[in-house]
Amino acid sequence: MAVLKEKIPELLEEMTKKAELLYQQHILQEGFEELLIEMQGVVEFFFLYHQENNDFPLDEDHMKDIFTEVLSAMEEQDYTLMADLITYDFVDYVKELYDKL
């Protein structure tokens, strides 16, 4: 379910903290589920916003690719890669988009 716009900065901070735990090899199953729900919520928000605002510069394929790569890294148990994708791809891209809202 899409998240509210005001919640996005807080969620990005949460995701960054969870990514830090991944770098430290602290792996928690509940943490993964929360992370994926948060990411999905953010992705859905921007997809909906893009539908209502055609000129919003969202690269849907790029967003989907990042999300897929995160899932793939999780399946491979490559937690460092997960942390990299979340911190430097997903969070950085979402911050870019948020500033353009």
């Binding site: 830090e20 770098y23 430290q24 090899q25 602290h26 148990q77 490559d78 937690y79 460092t80 890669l81 942390a83 990299d84 911190t87 430097y88």
Partner: protein
């Protein structure tokens, strides 16, 4: 390969780790000659630091972040607590050195970083492309290669783990190594856990036995002059002569009668609790082993005919038993004062592999003396029904909370054992593995747990195959001169007097320390930082005097039971510096009071013994 970097790293290795240097070159040559497949490479990232990637079974495993390896390493290293005193670290896996560097940066200058690399594959490649000579030569770093020398690695780790730093030592692995080296990693983890368990067992034993041990040491000093020490028996026996270690497991009753056939055909060494069975059944044997400072003396004193047998014992062993015993005493290593004093005067004890039980000590005695066949009898390490020992049930195990566990039995079925026996079982298995090819460990118990690595045989088969030529140990001992019939006793006597005098000076030193800390006792947390600094400064000078006081190890034995719980947090430090100083002051008060109490009692005992 970058030749300059490679040469620099090799030079550093050769200087600090000559053995590793040679093994590495041999490994590299073999790898090239046999074209061994183990691919690892450094790949570009978004920063200057590269990421190490290893190929295993056609799968690539990255050992660093593919984006920012240095940031990853910093975030990884930030998870650990470096505030406490003497924080050491053990890391499984070196990789490209980036994680080790972050740890070194955070550890203080007195800490040790132990790097355990599983094998030479990755290291061999890294030293050709990355300059790690600074890490190699760093005096805080110790490198080990687990597969090359497992026991040296584990001994190295064990050497700096103690009860004081058990929970402040950082124990971790380079991320990804657990995937690349899954089997070795699991084995390594298991072995390190055993080291930790050993420390806990030793501390618990020390706490349990310390009070008796220190008084036994003082009383038993009087027997030194008329005794021998274990090294003097090296080479005493004919080649291929076997040693039989008889323990009091429940299976002993099954085959003990057969030991008659081994009279003068094997060295029959009996542990304290098995003496009763041997004596009551009139089975001939050569010697007894006792180590326990609190063992009830009746195990031997109920059998006057054993008092003349050769007795392998420690200075800490029960004084009533040594008093009862009139035969030849042979000292075993353990007491620091005895070992260091003998070594000082040219009589070094052979290094002993601690196992925690009298049976493991007996097997190690046999090793030290030079036997290449050691036979275990009565070494069940498991329950036989409800029986724990030959002819009796000892409920002490259950009362002490040793929950039963199921393990492999010698006949293919599972048998019920318990935590402390499993600990000894692991010792026997390590012993069998470590000395494979040099010493045959034969289990002729005919029951109980399976000791993996041992040769399982019936006692009848052992007798038929391995009984030695006729040799009388008793006659040998009658002709063996005592240590101080061939060595001068005067220096030892002088050291004993120094020990006595140093001990006698301790109560007054403790009073001095308590006087320095009186200001804290009176003011508590209202003491100013200046006052507490002054008091602690005076105490640190005093503490140095303790450390150089001969016989201080005896005091540590005596106080460990008193202080064990209080000093458990000795290395834990909080962020509040004044609070840390106040905690130190309180610990020192407890410490000086304990040292004073024990040293006063020992000084009194010394007077009686030296007279």
């Amino acid at each position: 390969m970058e030749k300059k970097i490679y040469d620099k790293n090799l030079k550093a290795l050769k200087k600090k780790y000559p053995k590793i240097y040679k093994e590495l070159l041999a490994f590299d040559a073999q790898k090239r000659a046999e074209n061994i497949e183990f691919k690892c490479k450094l790949v570009d990232t978004r920063e200057t630091e590269k990421a190490l990637v290893v190929k295993k079974e056609n799968k690539e495993i990255r050992l660093n972040s593919k984006y920012y390896p240095s940031r990853e390493a910093k975030q990884w290293a930030d998870q650990f607590d470096y505030q406490n005193i003497s924080v050491n670290a053990i890391i499984f896996g070196f990789g490209n050195g980036i994680f080790a560097r972050e740890l070194l940066e955070r550890l203080d200058k007195e800490s040790v970083l132990c790097i355990v690399e599983p094998d030479y594959h990755i290291f061999c490649t890294m030293i050709k492309v990355i300059d790690i000579s600074d890490i190699i030569l760093n005096k805080r770093v110790k490198f080990y290669f687990y597969q090359s020398d497992k026991y040296e690695t584990l001994d190295g780790i064990a050497a700096f783990i103690s009860w004081a730093n058990l929970d402040t030592t950082i124990r971790t692995n380079h991320p990804g190594y657990e995937k690349v080296y899954e089997d070795i990693y699991n084995e390594y983890q298991f072995e390190v856990m055993k080291i930790y368990e050993s420390v806990i067992t030793d501390v618990n034993s020390l706490a349990l036995f310390s009070d008796s041990a220190v008084y036994n040491i003082v009383h038993n000093l009087q027997y030194i002059k008329q005794s021998n020490y274990v090294n003097e028996l090296i080479g005493a026996f004919p080649e291929e002569y076997p040693a039989v270690v008889v323990s009091a497991g429940p299976s002993l009753m099954k085959n003990v009668e057969q030991l008659h056939a081994l009279k003068n055909r094997a060295f029959v060494l009996v542990v304290d609790t098995a003496v009763k069975v041997m004596e009551e059944n009139k089975i001939p044997y050569d010697a007894i082993v006792i180590i326990d400072p609190t063992k009830p003396a009746e195990f031997l004193t109920d059998y006057p005919s054993c008092k003349e047998k050769t007795l392998f014992c420690m200075l800490e062993s029960k004084m009533e038993i040594l008093q009862f015993h009139t035969g030849r005493k042979i000292w075993l290593p353990n007491c620091y004062w005895l070992e260091s004093t003998y070594k000082k005067h040219g009589m070094a004890f052979e290094k002993h592999r601690i196992g925690g039980s009298v049976a493991t000590m007996a097997v190690d005695i046999a090793r030290i003396i030079g036997f290449n066949k050691i036979i275990l009898v009565g070494q069940d390490l498991a329950y036989l029904g409800e029986s724990t020992h030959a002819g009796r049930t000892n409920a002490m195990g259950e009362e002490r909370g040793y929950a039963p566990q199921w393990i492999d039995g010698i006949d293919g079925y599972m048998v019920r054992s318990r935590w402390d026996w499993i600990h000894y079982l692991q010792w026997f298995e390590e012993f069998a593995e470590m000395y494979d090819g040099k010493i045959m460990l034969i289990d002729a118990t005919e029951g109980g747990a399976l000791i993996h690595g041992s040769v399982v045989m019936s006692l009848a088969e052992v007798i038929e195959k391995y009984a030695g030529e006729e040799f009388s140990f008793q006659e040998y001992m009658e002709h063996l001169p005592r240590t101080f019939e061939v060595n001068d006793f005067e220096p030892i006597a002088k050291d004993m007097k120094t020990l006595r005098d140093d001990m006698a000076s301790l109560p007054d030193k403790c009073e001095k320390g308590l006087e320095y800390l009186k200001v804290y006792q009176e003011k508590g947390d209202e003491i100013s930082e200046k006052e507490i600094d002054e008091a602690l400064k005076k105490c640190s000078v005093l503490n140095y005097e303790f450390a150089t006081n001969h016989g201080f190890e005896l005091i540590e034995y005596g106080i460990s039971e008193i202080l064990y719980n209080k000093l458990d947090k000795v290395n834990h430090v909080s962020e509040d510096e004044k609070k840390n100083k106040e905690d130190t002051a309180q610990m020192l008060i407890d410490y000086y009071q304990a040292v004073k109490e024990v040293s006063t009692k020992i000084t009194e005992d010394f007077k009686n013994v030296m007279e």
